[in-house]
């Protein structure tokens, strides 16, 4: 589940790949931010763009705060530390699950492990 890049952008070419790209009207690539390095990018993989256009997949997004909330929740409830990239999927998955019948099964694909992110999360200022 890509981050903010899946929420906008138009077709462009970044680093040799045509896909949806965050850019201004003159084609200048937009600056981006994400708490997860893997999502801090102004474009999405072209396969995702294809799946989006063909209607075979729907995309959503999560903020940094939601990703951190999902990160903590997954660690507490499941004993699994997800990568911050994959953490973006958890809160949207919970929102979707609330709309489904009790017996339905929702699969969240945790595409990476969060060992690499523990220090970053630990060093974040606590509210």
């Amino acid at each position: 589940m890509p981050g903010a890049s899946s929420g906008g952008g138009r077709v462009g070419v970044l680093q040799g790949t045509m896909s949806y790209v965050l850019q201004d009207e003159s084609g200048q690539i937009a600056t981006t931010h994400s708490i997860s390095a893997g999502l801090d990018y102004a474009s999405i993989g072209p396969e995702h763009a294809y799946l989006h256009d063909s209607g075979r997949a729907e995309y959503t997004y999560a903020s940094d705060a939601e990703a951190l909330e999902g990160f903590a929740l997954c660690a507490e409830l499941e004993g699994i530390i997800p990568a911050l990239e994959a953490s973006h999927a958890i809160m949207p998955a919970l929102r979707i699950a609330r709309e489904l019948p009790q017996d339905d099964v929702v699969i969240v694909n945790l595409s990476g492990r969060g060992d690499k992110d523990v220090q970053l999360v630990a060093e974040l200022p606590t509210e």
Binding site: V13, Q15, E25, G27, Q28, I29, A30, T31
Partner: protein
């Protein structure tokens, strides 16, 4: 043959190296860039490379040539500005110009006005070649 090829053939024929300066559109402003193109042409530049600033090179964590441009030219100069600048300078000086741009701004214009129209636009500015 393009004007670029013609220039290199002429240089080779005369046994001398070429003077091919690189400048950045909008550094420090477009009026100066226009003046620089004219003056460089008058000073004997064989070809001029004109760079179009890019806001975000390939990742903000990387040092790159484009980042250098970005640091010096945060004034919102676009590809269209560069093309206009070339067209104005070309009214006064005839020197081959290579447009050095990241691909996406060219692609954005193509998406808007079509590929053929884009080529005509480049020709109308007498830009010899885009990179």
């Amino acid at each position: 043959m393009s004007r670029i090829s013609d220039t290199f053939l002429a240089l080779k024929g005369s046994g001398r190296g070429g003077f091919i300066p690189f400048i950045t559109a909008g550094d420090p402003d477009l009026a100066t860039t226009e003046l620089l193109i004219i003056e460089l042409g008058a000073a004997g530049a064989d070809i001029i490379e004109l760079g179009v600033p890019i806001q975000r090179p390939g990742g903000r964590r990387r040092e790159s040539f484009s980042a250098h441009l970005n640091a010096r030219c945060g004034n919102g100069v676009t590809l269209r500005d560069a093309l206009t600048c070339i067209a104005r300078a070309k009214q006064q000086i005839d020197v081959p110009i290579i447009l050095f741009s990241y691909f996406n701004p060219l692609f954005a214009i193509w998406r808007e006005i079509g590929w053929q129209a884009k080529l005509r636009r480049l020709e109308s500015t007498q830009c010899s070649s885009p990179i």
